[in-house]
């Protein structure tokens, strides 16, 4: 049972990535690989700041800004230097590996005996419940903020940028600027997940981001499948299902591991699982949208 609680909490933390990928992939139609690097960047900044005694709120802010900066660099390379979005992401992700290693100073920093965001509020004596509450508050705030943003005129222009670029250009929107801002928001969210997971697992590791974009993508695809089944068009519900997708994703992985599968095969399983999710619609099992 503990196994599933861990998965649930991890899923909640990683739902920030799912929201980030929802922005880059679904709203802007850009496959953004920067994610792998900006997730680690968020965790690395968190570990270094907390071990240096920075307050949690400042650490949070710095992590998000770090991720947003990485995303805006990808956006800049893609829009202004006209580099393919996938390649722009790979370039920044690769560069971030060195950046992360330099900030971290070594390949791993543990957070021993350091007060973290899960200890800020402690209404009960049960650590898991306290952590869930802290995470739920965090994710609920991100969900509300993002949903509201996407309802504003600016948010509508963001959504139109990915959906019909020729139209929104003719309607007076600088789509380059929009994409840079969008990728900054997306990677800011991804770094938030790095911030949360780093404190949840109690360490930052240079290789923790490998393949995390796939986790985000899988979560978004699960959310999208639910959205299509239920014909959801409301942005609040769409995002809620994406968050649910992140949790379902972790629960499925936890279930596979509980069957006694070698943890070394975890990335292989993750990739296969995402392959199944993305290919199901192509095979025609999903309701036509």
């Amino acid at each position: 049972m503990n196994f599933y609680i861990t998965a649930l909490l991890l899923g909640l933390s990683l739902s920030a990535i799912a929201m980030g990928i929802f922005i880059s992939m679904k709203i802007f139609n850009i496959p953004d690989i920067t994610t792998d690097g900006s997730y680690t960047l968020g965790a690395v900044i968190t570990a270094v700041c907390l071990t240096h005694g920075y307050p949690i709120w400042l650490t949070y802010l710095l992590s998000v800004m770090g991720g947003a900066l990485a995303g805006s660099i990808t956006g800049f390379i893609h829009t202004k230097l006209k580099v393919n979005a996938l390649l722009a992401g790979i370039l920044v992700m690769t560069a971030l590996y060195s950046v992360n290693l330099s900030i971290l100073g070594r390949s791993n920093i543990p957070l021993l005996n350091i007060r973290n965001i899960f200890e800020v509020i402690s209404p009960t004596s049960n650590l898991d419940i306290n952590s869930s509450i802290a995470l739920l508050i965090n994710i609920a705030l991100l969900w509300t903020g993002l949903s509201l943003l996407l309802k504003t005129d600016f948010g509508l222009a963001m959504r139109a940028t990915g959906n019909s670029e020729s139209m929104i250009k003719a309607l007076g929107v600088n789509t380059d600027r929009m994409k840079i801002i969008g990728l900054a928001i997306s990677n800011g969210l991804v770094a938030t997940a790095g911030f949360l997971v780093c404190q949840y697992q109690g360490f930052a590791d240079i290789s923790m981001g490998i393949g995390i974009v796939i986790v985000g993508l899988g979560s978004v695809m699960i959310g999208e499948t639910l959205n299509n089944w239920l014909s959801v068009t409301n942005i609040w519900l769409q995002l809620l299902f994406v968050i649910a997708g992140a949790i379902v994703f972790q629960l499925v992985l936890a279930f596979t591991l509980s069957l006694g599968i070698d943890p070394n095969l975890l990335k292989l399983l993750t990739a296969l699982f995402v392959l199944i999710i993305v290919s199901i619609p192509q095979l025609g099992f999903r309701k036509q949208s």
Partner: protein, 249 residues
């Protein structure tokens, strides 16, 4: 209203496959002009339209809109004068967004898109009222995604969207090319009505000579990058449809 001074546009300049799409063209389109542009494929008429719209920049020359030099302005900066209807019905609207959302963005064409929620009750009523003028029965389907409508419906809505915000110039790039004859007719009539009602200056590029004959008060014929004929309002009245066909023989 629209002035082109000695405007040229070349593609692949200096290379073996250099194309001079438009050669030193000078023309003035006055307020209230309703210009129909005809010409064979590759004659430069689409280049002409795209240069005015701003998604192409001229190799030489200057472009003025209402006496403002816009030669260096990007397309999104010219939207305060220009509304556009594209050949592809998909290009003028966002298919996954609702009708209401599309209209909201159109209503902000000349304005900044701020962090406020603008799709309120008053705005919905305004869109319903505007939609009812088209008599397409879409007044109560504001939340339907744009992509669920037919090409003709989407072109008609794009036209209506163009006057949701203050517009002076309407550019239409073969708006009916992808439509069946009945829808095409409906879209052309809607366009004509909107141009008259809102007193717009319009530039319509078309391959349909019957439309060129029926609509507009001025005809430009392009050929190999130059304006071959410029038929004014008075001359156009004398023109027969057969004359137009004769130009292309």
């Amino acid at each position: 209203m629209i002035k082109l001074n000695n405007v040229s546009k070349s593609f692949n300049k200096g290379k073996a496959n250099e194309v001079n799409a438009l050669r030193s063209t000078t023309i003035e389109i006055k307020h209230g002009d309703n210009v129909v542009v005809v010409g064979a494929n590759g004659s430069g008429k689409s280049t002409f339209l795209n240069l005015i719209a701003g998604n192409l920049n001229p190799t030489h020359g200057t472009i003025l809109l209402q006496d403002v030099d816009v030669t260096q302005l990007a397309e999104y900066n010219r939207s305060k004068w220009i509304a556009r209807v594209f050949q592809n019905p998909l290009s003028g609207t966002a298919p996954d967004l609702s009708i209401l959302t599309n209209f909201r963005l159109a209503a902000l064409r000349t304005k900044p898109k701020n962090l406020t929620i603008g799709t309120d009750k008053a705005f919905k009523e305004l869109v319903q009222q505007k939609l009812s003028t088209l008599k397409m029965g879409l007044e109560n389907k504001l939340d339907q995604p744009m992509g669920s409508l037919s090409g003709g419906q989407r072109q008609a809505l794009t036209l209506l969207m163009s006057v949701m915000d203050d517009a002076k110039i309407l550019l239409l790039d073969e708006p009916t090319a992808a439509l069946d004859p009945r829808s095409a007719n409906f879209v052309m009539q809607t366009a004509d009505k909107i141009i008259q009602d809102y007193n717009l200056t319009a530039v319509l590029v078309t391959h349909n000579l019957k439309d060129a004959y029926t609509y507009g008060n001025r005809i430009l014929q392009f050929s190999e990058g130059v304006i071959l004929r410029d038929i004014s309002s008075e001359e156009k009245k004398q023109l027969e449809l057969t004359d137009l066909f004769a130009w292309f023989e």
